[in-house]
Amino acid sequence: MTTVAPPPVTQASIDRRTKLFNRICAGVLVAFAIIWLVPILWTVDTALKPNAETTETTWLIHHPTLESFRTLLAQGDVWNWYATSFITSALTAAATVIVASMAGFALSRMRFRYRWLVFWFVLIGIMIPQQVLIVPQFREFSAWGLLNTYWAVILPQIPTAIAVFIFKQFFDGLPRDLDEAARVDGAGFFRTYWRVVMPLSRPVVSAVAIFTFVWSWNNLLWPLLVMSNPKLMTIPVGLATVQGTYGIRYADTMASAILGALPLVLLFLFFQRRIVEGIAGTGLKG
């Protein structure tokens, strides 16, 4: 190393060096990926043990059992939470897609008066952190008597300004010839939107729908405030609320975590590519 003169740089030596470097990269990355998976594997491991065995801190499972899952599902609360989470998240996602895509279409395709004003008015919304509005929003919903209803969870999550701009940006990139042709054939704006532009927009529709669904499903703070009835809690609120009550029944706690995560994990596995491309293409964040 010290006295030998550096060998002449040849293409072969560069290739060898690059190959070695890439191999080291792969090794380091695999190590980190395993570290990242450990908490998830440990959760599954714990949930498959009987409660009494969880204090041993070992990966070995002496008596594998699904008892914890059975207990939780038999108690019934989880089913109510699933129902609330599914209903509110699905409706939020559907409503967001419809409402935001219409607004995005108007901003992208129509030359109406005060367009610039609407544009800036909606743009402000991107910068408003919704979580900070809990106090006035809560007063609003309590004044309307909508606390402990699905409406309270769904309504404030629908007007997502960023979704409008994601749709607008996507529509801007679509060729105008098609909808101009539809217009010439006598189709109105709404018909053009619904029959021509939306069918061409599947990737962005699914990206916005999936993301809205995930954010809505994972939202904790707002449903925590408006859904105090245990029968109407969403999954995160339910888990956060009962977290203390399992005490030292660690297997039960981990089983409840798995049940809470399962729908989203499945969603992720099915739509992995869509989700990742959605983030990459839009740079959105909740």
């Binding site: 990269c25 990355l29 695999v30 129509m110 900070v132 509005l133 006035p136 809560f138 992720f268």
Partner: protein
């Protein structure tokens, strides 16, 4: 070149003129299509924002309807004079300082490595991104269990290596670090994916050309990749700062803001003041101050993305 310009220009010209002008017959249908969004937007975002500012000047309470007694800037004076307000503000900033550098640097590091590995993309994406789609409550339950004294996996690992067992969530000086570790594990995947996308935009021939010139992989990373990723990095940093400032869930579930209020974030302060002490007027004032802070940083983000859009 000239032929392209000639064929393109007649089409471009009318488009740019219609960009500016309003067209007859567009305004009414446009407003109809905007109406559903705008109504909800005004009712649930803009309205509450204005109402929050209004509330902050009154001594309202959750138990009575209406704004309450007018108090001028009293709530703001109280907030700025309150040690609890400032300590929550500090905890929020401290959490942001602890989480942003690792969430940016590690995500970039993993993305750089993943970009060099030809196989197993799906596996890395799964490992790093899967935690991001988990609900905060699930993440919290898992990490409370990992941090459990004596029998938790992390406590066990640390003691196996001969160190004294840290009181992960129970010690005021350590709790925030533990929450930061959990958060890095949970949300790193998002930044990882953003960086991966940024890396894919860098033209491959740049690497090939520099490699022929004898550049080492190390030089390529520092001289080509990092400088060309500037825009993505800036975006990730701003998004991360905004996300970290808005922290609530992890603290609320894992430590309830404790021990001894040492991990109470700004949003939890607002939550406590508004919904435990029932002082909605004061909570609105604290929200407004926090709101302005996040708004200022979000403005930077919008300026960044707008500029990016104009380039394309």
């Amino acid at each position: 070149m000239t032929t392209i310009v000639e064929t393109v220009s007649p089409e471009v010209a009318p488009v740019t003129t219609t960009e500016r002008n309003t067209q007859p017959g567009h305004t009414r249908p446009a407003l109809l299509m905007l109406a559903p969004f705008l109504i909800l937007y005004v009712l649930f975002i803009i309205g509450p924002t204005l109402y929050m500012v209004l509330m902050s000047f009154f001594d309202g309470s959750l138990t009575e309807s209406g704004l309450g007694k007018f108090g001028g800037f009293g709530n703001y004076a109280e907030a700025f004079g309150s040690a609890d307000f400032w300590s929550s503000m500090w905890h929020t900033l401290w959490f942001t300082i602890l989480t942003t550098p690792p969430l940016v640097v590690l995500a970039l590091f993993f993305a750089l490595l993943a970009n060099r590995v030809a196989r197993g993309r799906a596996f890395f994406r799964l490992a790093f991104f899967l935690p991001y789609v988990l609900p905060s409550a699930v993440v919290a339950l898992v990490w409370i269990w990992l941090y459990t004294p004596e029998i938790g996996l992390l406590s066990k690992i640390v003691t196996t290596f001969g160190f004294a067992e840290p009181n992960w969530l129970g010690s005021p000086s350590l709790a925030m670090w533990s929450l930061a570790i959990t958060t890095v594990w949970w949300t790193l995947g998002f930044n990882f994916v953003l960086f991966l996308a940024g890396l894919q935009d860098i033209p491959r021939d740049l690497y090939e050309a520099s490699s022929i010139d004898g550049a080492t992989p190390w030089q390529q990373i520092w001289r080509i990749t990092i400088p060309l990723l500037n825009r993505t990095t800036a975006l990730v940093i701003v998004l991360q700062v905004i996300a970290s400032l808005k922290v609530f869930d992890q603290m609320y579930i894992m430590t309830s803001g404790g021990p001894n209020y040492s991990t109470r974030s700004m949003l939890q302060y607002v939550y406590d003041l508004g919904f435990t002490d029932l002082r909605t007027g004061y909570a609105a004032a604290a929200s407004t101050v926090f709101f302005v802070l996040v708004l200022a940083i979000s403005t930077v983000w919008v300026v960044l993305t707008r500029r990016q859009e104009q380039r394309f």
